[in-house]
Symmetry: C3
């Protein structure tokens, strides 16, 4: 993708998809802000951004990667990850940084922040272990890439739920987060053949959607007293079929529509105005050299 | 070591060594929880895990590495650290993350947490400088590896003490932490010839033991008012020969026994049931490829 | 520079330049501590160390690099950054760690800390974007190096201001931080030809000086109620020409004098006593091998 196209796409996408969603979910008069807006049309909850951040970006990424098309040589040449070492370093930094927005979404150093911190740890640890063990059982070789993918999937799925579920809920989320995205990354991707280099769809879109759903199933008043407040008490009855599940499904549908329709329109606009793909020559030289004039390494320096 | 053996060993070890120790040290009715359990058999203290985390894992690592045996070619081929750059990056991440469990062990954003943060910084800075300067004096070449080893040693030794000692105590701990583990890593290891690739014994076992002891010597009521409470005031008299020293020695002995006996028994059980070492072929190919099906780098990708 | 010379220089420099400045700016009876010292000679402000940390070190670095002289081959051989990957990893770690000392300088989890956190984020994001976009406009190739340089420049410039300015002020600071240091790194450096390998002058000295000045221009009582207290209310009138600007200029002058004179004297003392530069042979072999006896990588290990 051209760098100019990325800049243009991101700028429009923020205003069309991200900002409206963020306002609807977290704005004090937001359409889907179940906890704080008594007159919300949908009484849904999203603690740290399962719909706003992960579903919206993940589904948009799938649409954009379909419109953009595959990399030259995709499916013909091997395209292994460049460096598992950097993958591991990055996953570690991501995991730690993620506490900032999961626990930090409590906007206070209180018991809800502590619970969000704990559930984030539980779900992520369980998901990374689950993903690795599935690889171990199926392929006989648990990998660092699997561990890292599982960790990110766990972080994604717990994100909307972290401030609303108990430790037991977090463990269930961790197991599902290690299992379902695994299937999407290793099986569904091959069936459909889209070129999703970073598994953004399998991990973020699928994970974000599962997370929004499981938040509905597993939210408990014992984890967050705000769920027992006037705005939410009709929806959170502390059972797996509580009315909140239906509200969460509405939010998932609305987020899906906005992300998919929004991205499709924006992508075709950008394509018409600016073009999306670099030329074959630029792609062969490499976008780092051709578009940014620099390389990752100068080993001799 | 086989990956299957690691999984099996770690699972049993947690239940046999780690969980009992953690309960004894931090459990409200723990055998060695001097501060909070009035009827503790041993009135010892361990702020963030010198015995529970570092002594237990460090001594277990030595036993396991002796039972496992040396790497093929150890002592015959040079085995330098793969990347000093990653060593430095990792030490930086470790140092920052360590604040989480040292200061975080105050379980509150209070003056004890602030003191733990400060003593952790002091001891670690002094220890990394000390280790480097010893290298400078002895070999003429202070190294990044020495700086990093000193930093980790400082972190390990201050861990049990961080919430109980003053800034002066932390400086003393830093000097000892740079000195004693250095001797173990550069001299004692060569005398005995065990293959401790990451200096886990020299840094974590020796460091954890020194830390548990120095916590007894240097704990002061001026650093933590809880030491002046009913449960501890008989033991912390603010002198270097205070009764707490003897309590800490008991804890050291108990931890040593549990770690050494526990690890020996578990290692032989795992060896009998599953085997510990990979075959010579697997070791020659490399455990990354043979056991996990992946490599650290794909330079061409 | 010889490692022995670095140790000697740093030790003396701390006592002559850093500690006096730190006391004058943050000491309760400090000469330039405008907020807390009623009888301060200069009623200046510096939240997290624009003068103390960045101006002092940045200007000292320029003087020292002029006295030390250029690297062998400088200007004749290309000297590209060794690894853009590490540059990016390091910038990420720096950015996150920087919150510790910017927001942490509030010495409390209060509204001033939250404001400092927010302004740090705004200024850094805007500065990194600005620097990259300038490259895009001038060279057609926005680079990671430019993004990283802009981020660090943003962090440096917001540092003295972070606890005193509003979100709008932070955006202005971000734009200036992306613009002025860029000019110094890409134009001024070439005009004068000094060998500043890490752009310490362009980013830290220039950035720190701009930051100290803009703190005077943009400090607002709405961002920090302490500015409306007895000691500062005469200086902070919430206009761009408020009396504080003149106080900040005095501080800039004093810091410049202390850093430049101090570094010059110390550098010549160290040169006379110990020598500054390594021999040509050592420089050709590389200081890592010759002075520290180790290399960054052992690819085969």
């Amino acid at each position: 993708m051209k760098f100019s196209a990325i800049l243009l796409f991101v700028t429009i996408w923020m205003f069309v998809v991200y900002f409206p969603l963020a306002h609807m979910v977290w704005g004090i008069d937001g359409l889907m802000n179940g906890v704080w807006n008594a007159s919300a049309k949908i009484h849904a909850i999203d603690f740290a951004g399962g719909t706003v951040v992960h579903m919206s970006s993940g589904w948009s990424a799938l649409i954009l990667c379909l419109i953009l098309g595959k990399r030259l040589g995709f499916g013909k040449e091997p395209m292994p990850p460049h460096s598992m070492v950097l993958c591991m370093v990055g996953t570690g930094m991501l995991w730690v940084g993620w506490y900032g927005f999961n626990a930090g979404s409590a906007v206070g150093a209180d018991v809800i922040a502590a619970n969000a911190f704990m559930t984030t740890t539980m779900a992520t640890a369980v998901a990374s272990f689950t993903w690795g063990m599935i690889e171990y059982m199926i392929k006989g070789k648990p990998s660092i890439l699997g561990f890292c993918s599982g960790a990110v999937a766990g972080l994604v799925v717990i994100t909307p739920a972290c401030g609303f579920v108990t430790a037991n809920g977090a463990v269930i989320i961790g197991i599902v987060a290690g299992l379902v995205p695994f299937i999407f990354c290793y099986k569904v991707k091959n069936w459909f053949g889209y070129d999703d280099a970073l598994d953004t769809f399998g991990v973020h879109a699928v994970g974000g959607t599962i997370g929004a759903f499981l938040t509905g199933v597993l939210a408990r008043t014992s984890a967050n007293a705000n769920l027992a407040g006037d705005n939410m008490k009709a929806y959170v009855t502390n059972s797996v079929f509580q009315p909140l599940v239906w509200e969460q499904l509405k939010v998932i549908g609305l987020t899906l529509c906005l992300a998919i329709v929004g991205t499709t329109v924006i992508a075709f606009v950008v394509k018409a105005v600016n073009g999306l793909r670099v030329s074959e020559e630029v792609e062969t030289v490499g976008l780092d050299l051709a578009e940014h004039g620099e390389e990752g390494y100068h080993a001799e320096a």
